[in-house]
Symmetry: C2
Amino acid sequence: MSAETERRSSSENRREQILASATAVFGERGLAGGTTDAVAHGAGVSQAYVVRMFGSKQELFVAVTERACARVMETFRAAIATLPADSPIPQRLEVLGRAYVGLTADRGILLTLMHAFTLGHDPRIGPIIRERYLEIYRIARDEAGLGPEQASHFLATGMLINTGMGMRMFDVAESDADARELLGCMWGDEADEAIALMASVPTLPDVGRR
Amino acid sequence: MSAETERRSSSENRREQILASATAVFGERGLAGGTTDAVAHGAGVSQAYVVRMFGSKQELFVAVTERACARVMETFRAAIATLPADSPIPQRLEVLGRAYVGLTADRGILLTLMHAFTLGHDPRIGPIIRERYLEIYRIARDEAGLGPEQASHFLATGMLINTGMGMRMFDVAESDADARELLGCMWGDEADEAIALMASVPTLPDVGRR
DNA sequence: CTATGTAGTTATCAGCCGATTACAACCAAC
DNA sequence: GTTGGTTGTAATCGGCTGATAACTACATAG
């Protein structure tokens, strides 16, 4: 394969490119609002190819959702693995919290999940997202040893962070003291760091068709 | 006006009917996924009338969002008004929590807000939802006297409840012990009551056009 | 009775977008 | 070198849906 012009790519590479693009698109626009054309444009392939590779837009969304959940679970498990067996609860919360902030580096992952959370009524997506969310809950409760109360509190904080991301609260954090304060309560000590990390992330460009 | 066949209605009545229908539709499908035709069907009017009354689908969504925020703020303020001036924080949290559970009686209100939270990038909706959310935060922090930490914790729990609603976690609460436990941590003592209240809420029917 | 505004409809247009089809380019093996 | 599978594209179709236009029905004032 030539180094310069790699016009053809392995199926797996393409698949990953498309999933990454779709994560950004679905994260910002959701299943109904995101178009296969925008996904294709972001991945540098044709719209037809996106649809054919995944069968349908809905199946692509399912794949993106599963991938996002897998990322979340990997990230949490990797964080948990760094903990000593007898570490106290506050330290466990701290480590998991940092892991969550790390997840925000890719907006699309958490925002796509947020959209998936609104699709419980969908017969295809509903069962998947419920199962995966409970799986994440069990990881926090059992594997991280937080117990039911702290685990649900942890997930609640995560949802507040997602909400702040979806609303783009960072855009007003500089000018609005209340926004800064609220974001500060979400992130704890790392608030400034996290806000700086996420501010001025560009909106997806509107892409005309083909 | 005849009592039986009210074929014509005052503009305000119609407006309220349309907003109620739109709240249900947008709550389930979001701005991009909800159709003006479904809204019209739910309100018993024609699709064209819905669009003309509000100018555009987006403006209808803005109106629904503003109405939903107003409901939330009214509900919180009414709950706060029942509190004695020197009531302790736990009691304040308890009263606000009950008020939030009361809001879940109309799924559409909280679910529409959840969709609005994903629209921060939208130049029309973003500024509105950020401003309203911060307003609600200030109500919890100042008017209810919770302070920053407890107020953000309260909002976080609210977001977890919204997420549970969006995922339709109630549908599996009967059969899945973890789901019951998680929902229990959200609602506290009223979990069973709340779950019973919200289970088996029908999905919006798919409505063909006209 | 007529005029005028309000409440509503039907019909239709025009653009968007997912999906399908047919075809092209490349590669590896025999 | 031809055969067959893989990687991809261009073109197009057809349904959905927001918006618009043109029209109808009713009510109220003068």
